[in-house]
């Protein structure tokens, strides 16, 4: 139950941990666009090298990165395999309707490398940023939407609460499962239908307690006169520091590098 690596915060004091979460989110978005702008191997190499650099800078155990990759490795393999057969040009190898071309191989490599870079770089963000910082940053970044009467603060609050409840509910599930197991509930064997049925004794108490918790939280918030975003100040206000400017500069250099590679060297894909 607790082995979900993707999106888990890993506390630490690395440079990446200390960056402003707003800067991290913006840089991540820029980087993701960059990943998909790579048109030849030189550009791809720049991107892959910088992903490796970010991973090393985060000082998060590599084991965790592998764990988050493990969940999507099938998607990567399937999309790569599909791309392998969708190349145009001279076939290198042919069998029935399948033919592999040099372009196909290039496509497969690019798609694989891009998805893996994507996952690794987003994992680096979630590993080094606490969920609270993340929602704080999102709230600040979405603030301009207030003009369109989007309730940015409320959305961010809901996200924070939802994130806070995930570990609580996991713990609760564990507890209820143990309790039902000690009354002889069998959750490890039987047919699919039997297994789904065996979940009822877990799901009903879980729902009941989730509603109870939500209700209690609402009452507790009202008791403290919580009334939404209007006129609220923050205990920790986010501030950009020299680190954020330096890392932004580095990303700009990367963008320039990739663009130069794309312009100066022939394109291998599309």
């Amino acid at each position: 139950m607790r082995d979900i690596a993707f999106g888990q915060f890993y506390p630490g004091h690395s440079l990446l941990h200390k960056l402003d979460p707003r800067a991290k989110i913006i840089l991540l978005v820029a980087f993701i666009v960059l990943v998909f702008c790579t048109a030849n191997y030189a550009a791809l190499a720049v991107v892959v090298a910088s992903v490796i650099g970010v991973i090393l800078l985060s000082k998060v155990p590599l084991r965790l990165y592998f764990k988050s990759l493990k969940m999507i490795i099938f998607i990567v393999l399937i999309t790569s395999a599909l791309n392998l057969f969708y190349g145009t040009g001279e076939p290198l190898w042919e069998f029935w309707v399948f033919k592999i071309t040099l372009a196909g191989i290039n496509n497969a490599v690019f798609v694989g490398a891009r998805i893996i870079s994507l996952i690794l770089i987003s994992s680096a963000l979630t590993f080094t940023t606490s969920p609270n910082d993340l929602t704080d940053a999102l709230e600040r970044l979405m603030k301009p939407l207030n003009v369109f009467h989007v309730k940015v603060h409320e959305i961010a609050m809901m996200m924070t609460i939802a994130l806070r409840f995930v570990p609580l509910l996991l713990e609760e599930t564990d507890k209820i499962m143990s309790a039902q197991k000690s009354r002889g509930a069998d959750m490890e064997s039987g047919s699919l239908i039997q297994r789904i049925k065996a979940l009822i004794p877990v799901l009903i108490p879980l729902f009941v307690s989730a509603f109870r918790r939500a209700y209690e939280l609402a009452v507790a918030m009202e008791c403290r006169c919580y009334q939404g975003g209007e006129g609220r100040t923050r205990m920790k206000s986010l501030k950009l520091s020299y680190r954020d400017y330096v890392s932004s500069a580095v990303v700009v250099v990367l963008i320039v590098g990739v663009v130069l590679c794309n312009v100066l060297l022939p394109h291998t894909v599309r």
Binding site: A179, Q180, R183, G184, P205
Partner: protein
């Protein structure tokens, strides 16, 4: 004959991560049939982990658990059998109720055992009786009961499996004083009537002193003491070093003894204290 025997039992959480934690460290003990054992210890001392290893919910990292001289983990596929032999009532068990009626909820365990309908009925009624649930409540939804009644229904759900060893994790937590006393005496009566083994995990020294005949003390994952109740509560200095204390009345009597008043040591309940003091006053002719 020993009901439960434990040898060199250890449990490590999150091995090889920065969060590695030794919850239980090389614990060995033997509990005889018919014993009423209190299990006390500071929060985080490994009590809950220990009791969950006794019915096979947590697999020990090292060491063995024997129930009725049979190794619990000899056949991991048959672990469910032992959950019927060692009944575990969790903390706040009322949150595990789920069926449409109280009857069906109490019947969940016996049904999982594969008993016949008539036998299930007999057990449910028997178990409801033991915890003092009125018959008319059996057809109600468990979510319509009061807090205390829910607690009783949940405990009945485990008693209905007729386990040889009954483990209760803080069964009186969050109950009012009357509900506490009633529940505790019902558990005590259950233990006497069946002559079963009962393990009571509790933070209330008064509760433990009142009903148990033996006490186990856990401290930082180690089994610090395991002795007769009176003998354990005689070591009040050691207990307070572990963040525990002896029952209030025991402290009062000890303080009186230090003042030179001729009372016996090892008084654990208020009833006993009243008896001893009246006797003393009578002897001195003041009553």
């Amino acid at each position: 004959m020993s009901a439960i025997k434990v040898e060199n039992l250890s449990c490590v959480y999150g091995a090889k991560t920065p969060f590695e934690q030794h919850a239980v460290k090389k614990v060995s003990f033997e509990i005889n049939k018919g014993d009423f054992v209190g299990l006390i210890g500071h929060t985080g001392s490994g009590k809950s982990t220990l009791v969950q290893m006794l019915n096979g919910l947590i697999k020990p990292t090292t060491g063995k658990v024997y129930v009725d001289s049979v190794d619990l983990w000899a056949k991991p596929k048959e672990i469910r059998k032992f959950r019927f032999k060692v009944g575990l009532v969790f903390q706040y068990p009322e949150y595990q109720l789920f069926e449409e009626t109280v009857y069906k909820d109490i019947a969940f365990g016996p049904t999982n055992m594969g008993l016949s309908q008539s036998e299930i009925k007999e057990r449910v009624i028997h178990a409801a009786n033991f915890v003092g649930l009125k018959d008319e409540l059996l057809n109600k939804s468990p979510f319509d009961l009061s807090g205390g009644e829910k607690r009783r229904a949940a405990i009945a759900g485990v008693i209905a499996m007729d386990p040889q060893v009954l483990i209760l994790d803080e069964p009186t937590a969050g109950l009012d004083p009357v509900g506490r006393n009633v529940l505790l005496s019902q558990i005590s009566q259950y233990q006497k009537a069946k002559n079963n083994t009962v393990i009571l995990v509790s933070h209330s020294m008064e509760d433990v002193a009142r009903v148990t005949n033996k006490v186990m003390v856990m401290n930082k994952g180690n089994l610090a003491m395991f002795d007769d109740t009176a003998a354990v509560f005689a070591r009040s200095d050691e207990l307070s070093k572990m963040g525990l204390r002896v029952p209030q009345i025991t402290r009062v009597i000890e303080a009186l003894r230090e003042k030179g008043i001729d009372l016996p040591s090892g008084v654990l309940t208020v009833d006993k204290a009243v008896m001893e003091i009246t006797e003393l006053l009578k002897k001195e002719g003041k009553l």
